[in-house]
Amino acid sequence: MRPRIHIWAFLVPILVLAGLIACAGTPAQVTQPTQAPASTAAAVEPTQVTATSEPSSSTGENKGGGTFIFARAGDAITLDPSQTKENESETRVVQMFEGLVSVKPGTTELVPGLAKDWQVSEDGKTWTFHLREGVKFHDGTPFNADAVKFNFDRMRLSDNPYHIGEFNVWKNMMGGFPGVMSDVKVIDEYTVEFTLEQAMGPFLAYLAGPAFLLSSPTAIQADPENYFKNPVGTGPYKFVEWVQGDRVVMERFDDYWGEAPAFDRAIIRVIPDSTARFLELKAGTIHAMDDPNPDDIELAKSDSDLQVLLRDYWPVGTINVDHTIKPLDDVRVRWAIAHAIDREGLMPLYNGMAIPGNQAQTPASWAYNPDLAPIEYNPEKAKQLLADAGYPDGFEMDFWYMPVARPYYPKPAEIAQKMAADLAAVGIKVNLKTEDWGAYMNDRAGKFPMWMFGGWASVMDPSWLIYVYYGNKTAQEGNYDNAEVRDLMNKAQYSVDQEERAKLYQQAAKLTYDDMARIPVVFARAGAILANAKVKGFPTSVLRQERIATARFEE
């Protein structure tokens, strides 16, 4: 009689345990498309901010007013451009602020912003910017050389009374306070001169970044402590309201110097769950959303009410090797690995978000070297190279894969297993290993013989990625030591002529390709945006800093 009771007494705990396993999920995988039930409630919950409730549809024309709502997964941390250091804050400030230099929307090209034009001295140390005239900040303060000087002095001088906060990006890019910028001079009302300690190739690209966009001096002086939530710039949209954790509301700035934006209002909402964002997009309560689930991209493609805006290829995924460990010190072995990987075969794991790669810069970058051949998938050649190098039977090695999804390796464990099978086919037996992300980042140089890695430039300049890869710091990672490459990198770092720099980077790319310094695997897209089909003129940005200014509705 007892056993019958006991079966249930055991069944229940087993079910509980099974439930516990299911709940013990790790965020190691890509955006989980499994949270739908929990988030649907949030999606259906009525919000004041809906597109349909606005008196928007007066006309379908270019300047027909209305509201544009863009949804992102996270909220801004600050709306003060000089304090931004992550993408969520960046996406808000680029709507309201401008810098001396801009990035042409939809491209990686630098174009004049609040400066009409500029000159640089022969030695690359003195930059003179001629400012656009008749530009006003949202609070009516005129934009002039004094305003520029105010902004840069605030950022670079730690004893400036308005230097309140971290100024993290300035510190990293300009090398501290004051860092590389030794002086800012007002020449006349619309001319300003920067003096640098040394020439700096990426200087212009840095100035175009969100952290160097210019604020109204009056607004900062009025309340320096709270400026981060009362931002005042010169951009096409001006700040209205920031409901933290929910939305940033902006409206058209009527005195904008450039082309007026199409919408009366632009709103960036926070909807953390990707499934909830997608449901709202389908319901029409938002007009565009960032970071969809891969499966939802497929759904959106087949939905005539929606469109998929793919960002260009920007992140690069590689297999890194330690050049001091045998047999990876042999260039033939590195090429054998390169030839063994079936890059096309990996593509189904990327849902159309990547293409095979062959260097550290994607075709979207001006430093991309178009002369390098794609790396051929050729197991026979790989075996031959291994035999030539003295390993006819291959070898065995630890291969580390990352525990978290990145744009260049969205499913790291699956991709690692596919690559391991490819390598096994030519005789290289790899033991797959991983550890937590923090430890992985620390250990990768030194502990790992071979590991998956990647990255992307967070400014519009190739140096951001490849100088770190192959410049002075190279010795820290992979122990690749090529004086010629280092020399090219340093020349490019201190040159201010983009064409010359492009040539130098391309030469370096050729050298690292021949050496197979890092084994390129993929060029991945910087992500995707899903938008309502009527949204036009909303170009994507590889740095994930889309500007709403040019967007409009067309039925």
Partner: protein, 302 residues
């Protein structure tokens, strides 16, 4: 109970009588086990799993590691009974090969904790005094840690992998067996035959191993049988967290972890390993339950 007299003849005459008694205990237990329905179901399920695991290499299965990226996430079909996973591997074959891993982990981990815990409990129970206090406080400290957290910590320090998982799960269960052994030993120690052995001058180590241990072992075995189920679940949990068996090993927890992002598109990638975990753990628990009734003389005769 012990009739022999004389310090020299005691051990010689004890050994055969012990063996005889044990074999009859085993036989009685087995019969009692098969009499109970839960015991029969448990034994049947386990026999199936063990046979599958042992004979996996000679069964007509596909290579559990062979990838076919074009045929990924295919639903169950005649060719792939349980469908294919994210790299196009046959899930049926992976689940069966996974049984080898899970059963090995479960059994070896329990053996580790049984042996270590048994030694600690036996020493603590027999010696008593300061040994007892120090050892048991150590065990209390270990029990104070949430066991899963401790396992994760052990694996994090030693690095992920099957062997370390096994070790971690073995170690975290040591206190349970130590306590169990100690309490049984304490009650057995009071019995007359132990006092008799002591009075005729049998060395204490011999008393510990030949008199006390064999008479305390059955609750430990029952606990161990049920413990295998728990160990399998814990190994799967570590595998799910990416700390257990490393890819491409077909470990059940790791299969669940890589399959759960496809839950809407390819639920079969979750179903098969989930069901396998459920059934093995159920089998061990049913068996352990029936075994407990079977070795308990009171419930057997009732």
């Amino acid at each position: 109970m012990i009739k022999s007299v004389g310090p020299i003849s005691t051990p010689v005459s004890l050994a055969p009588s012990e063996t005889r008694r044990e074999s009859s205990l085993v036989r009685d237990t087995w019969h009692a086990l098969l009499k109970s329905p839960s015991g029969r179901v448990g034994v049947l399920l386990l026999v199936i799993f063990i046979l599958l695991a042992v004979f996996a290499p000679i069964l007509p299965l596909q290579d559990p590691l062979a990838q076919d990226i074009a045929g990924r996430l295919m639903p169950p079909s005649a060719r792939h009974w349980f469908g294919t996973d994210e790299l196009g591997r046959d899930i049926l074959s992976r689940v069966i090969y996974g049984a080898r891993i899970s059963l090995t982990v479960g059994i070896v981990a329990v053996l580790i904790s049984m042996v270590l815990g048994g030694i600690v409990g036996l020493i603590a129970g027999t010696k008593g005094g300061v040994f007892d206090r120090v050892l048991m406080r150590l065990m209390d400290i270990m029990m104070g840690f949430p066991s899963m957290l401790l396992a994760i910590a052990i694996v994090a320090v030693r690095g992920p992998g099957l062997f370390n998982t096994l070790l971690a799960i073995g170690v975290i269960r040591v206190p349970i067996y130590a306590r169990l052994t100690r309490s049984t030993v304490l009650s057995v120690r009071q019995l007359e035959y132990v006092t008799a052995a002591q009075s005729i001058g049998v060395p204490s180590r011999r008393i510990m191993l030949r008199h006390i241990l064999p008479n305390s072992i059955s609750p430990i075995i029952v606990q161990g049988t049920m413990g295998i189920g728990t160990a399998i679940v814990e190994a799967a949990a570590l595998g799910f967290l990416g700390l257990g068996a490393q890819p491409p090993e077909p470990e059940w927890g790791a299969m669940l972890s890589s399959g759960y992002i496809y839950i809407l598109r390819a639920p079969w990638a979750l179903f098969a390993p989930g069901a396998a975990i459920f059934l093995t753990v159920l089998a061990f628990n049913l068996l352990g339950d029936a075994l407990r009734d079977a070795v308990d003389p009171r419930s057997r005769h009732n």
